[in-house]
Symmetry: C2
Subunit: 388 residues, 2 copies
């Protein structure tokens, strides 16, 4: 039988992303025999005590790492960000109806392809939506964020939530601020930067984050919700107002009431979350991880900045992502050569998203500083060879 | 480091269920280094060639094992049966509108707790539903199925589909027939008996089956759809008719068009499906599995039938499930004693569903005949000890 060893990869893929080797090794063992039960963690009933313990412990670890206040609750859903795009409007509007007796508007900041998709899905489902800012309209491309004071102002008492994507994975744009308006709930997609740095969770009505970048395998999404928002109008009230309902498996109050196991929760996938969070704590927690991530990103941006004629960066300096560093390479055939030479040096996953092209180096939590140093060396080497 | 070995469990849990040890061992290795890529199968991009190959190969294996005709397509969704309950009415009604220019009724056979849940969700979402048969109303309990000729007849041209649950996991009731009506699509939930026996797929408009019983881990659901049903009315047409839309990640035409990767597909979970199907083929395919399953179930029912005063079976003989054998034990404290003694013999997972109590022995594909023989011996032994 082959071994559970591997060389640590230098992998910069945008997600599903690499996970710490030690986490995968433990998960591999637990897949076969978990906690001496004689059964793997994926085979036990989702209603058994060991499964409930996995869910509870994972929730506790999130609460600890993110310092989630008692006003907020953590839960898990299958389905990733796209399911979030669909489930957020019906749930948040149902909360708004409960409080205000009428449906509220869904306000979106469009700063890249993910927030755009989320907005489009809310419109498609028939919710009353408005756009507060659209980077493409403002700048002709995604790569910047309009100054907050220039955004269209949503109306408190009429707006169910303001939605934004804190880190746009495809476009490499990360918010340097939280778009807070007095009296309006903030909803954030943190799929590609959750647990990359500290955040003040108390400012959010709802956070949604797919696991497959910083915290686990594809197949599970983390939600952090202000408990007050679990008070929703009834299905009948919503139907009478013409508000579409969330499918029951994504009806947040039902999911929370059933400790994320209203339907069968994929326990193996949650178990991996748990192992990743334990590993993060063992390595110094969020503070250490944030410092490491800042260092990784600074090094790579600094290298790219040294060769501005070769490496073109479409993202403005103030909104550059620490997670996804995007750039193009000027010169016929040079992008292909860059990828080919990188591969020879075992630097993988650098190709940009098919919709925008170019390069993208994702520097998620599990990407080591050593991997980034190797990439930086290569960026410099390639830069020298192709500058004159 | 601990090993990947384990003693084969004697586990009769209803799901998530046990998987073949050899499958889990291969999956454990692939979690760390898949196909010598230096990365685990859960870490590669869902749009990479090796990931697409996993999806395509898994689809092909389903087509081969179930002899799926070219008129039908296979796709995967996250979310399990409950997500299926919510996604079936909007999709199938959208197909009906495309063909008939008006919404159709959703007709349900209620033969146990799962079909009941599915019906209730369709009603909740606002679809126009009717009940063709309700075992609880007919017999005072779930445990039988009304003769097909006694069902209420749905009207062709007005009924979008007839829905039934082929095997009711909680109640131990399995259909001995397919409720076919000329000109009406049949929709079946095969979550707990897919690949347990041969089936004529051509008879179905749609099949939905959560993986976590016979074919894999929780977190993925298999759909087999008649291709003609992928023709749907547009969102605008549906909105104008007041038909609720499916969330985009469960909009079947979108999912099929994107080869099940419109959103991030959990590749590790699909990979396990693939390994389970390969293992099934290596062991003789569906024919061999069906014979094995029939033998396993017959042996256990025969043992229980020998002690009718002790072991009470709530399910009528003609509709007994080969997958989930349910029974209660007469006599103060005897159920607890049965479970205790079973556990001492390493026979696990026998407790019935919390909603019905009693015992339930699930005999899914991965449960070996040896395990069943041990259980049968114990049932006999316990039977002798408590009969007089």
């Amino acid at each position: 039988m082959a071994s559970l060893d591997r060389e640590d990869p230098n992998y910069f893929g945008a997600g599903p992303a690499m996970l710490p080797t030690s986490v995968l090794q433990q998960a591999a063992l637990d897949l076969i025999n978990y906690d001496n039960l004689g059964l793997g963690v994926g085979e036990i009933s989702h209603r058994s005590a060991p499964a409930i313990e996995v869910v509870d412990e994972t929730k506790q670890l999130f609460k600890k790492l993110l310092e989630i206040p008692d006003t907020h609750e953590v839960f898990f859903l299958q389905g990733g960000g796209t399911t979030g795009f669909s489930s957020i409007p019906p749930n948040l509007v149902a909360s708004f109806v409960k409080k205000h007796g009428k449906p509220g508007k869904c306000a979106y900041a469009i700063t890249g392809s993910w927030s755009k998709k989320s907005y489009e899905e809310a419109v498609r489902l028939g919710f009353y939506c408005e756009v507060l800012t659209d980077s493409k309209k403002a700048y002709g491309k995604f790569g910047d964020i309009e100054p907050f004071e220039q955004w269209k102002k949503p109306t408190p008492g009429e707006t169910a939530y303001v939605y934004y994507c804190d880190n746009e994975t495809v476009n490499g744009v990360e918010f340097p601020f939280i778009p807070e308006y007095e009296g309006i709930e903030v909803v954030a997609d943190l799929s590609s930067n959750i647990l990359s740095r500290k955040m003040d969770i108390s400012k959010f009505g709802l956070i949604m984050a797919g696991a497959q970048k910083n915290v686990g395998l594809a197949g599970i999404t983390i939600y952090i919700i202000k408990k007050a928002l679990l008070e929703q109008a009834t299905d009948d009230e919503l139907k009478a107002l013409g508000v579409p309902l969330a499918p029951i498996a994504t009806h947040y109050p039902t999911v929370v009431k059933n400790n994320s196991a209203y339907n069968t929760i994929p326990i193996f996938t949650v178990h991996i979350l748990k192992l990743v969070l334990q590993n993060l704590i063992a390595k110094g927690g969020l503070e250490a991880q944030e410092q490491l991530n800042k260092r990784k990103a600074s090094k790579l941006y600094a290298a790219l900045d040294q060769y501005p004629k070769l490496y073109k960066q479409p993202v403005s300096k103030g909104v550059r992502s620490d997670m996804n560093v995007v750039f193009t390479i000027e010169g016929e055939g040079l992008e292909a050569e860059f990828l080919k030479l990188a591969k020879e040096k075992k630097l993988d996953g650098l190709k940009g998203h098919r919709s925008v092209g170019g390069m993208r180096a994702s520097l998620y939590n599990a990407v080591t500083e050593h991997s980034v140093d190797l990439l930086v060396d290569f960026v410099n080497e390639f830069g020298k060879a192709h500058s004159n």
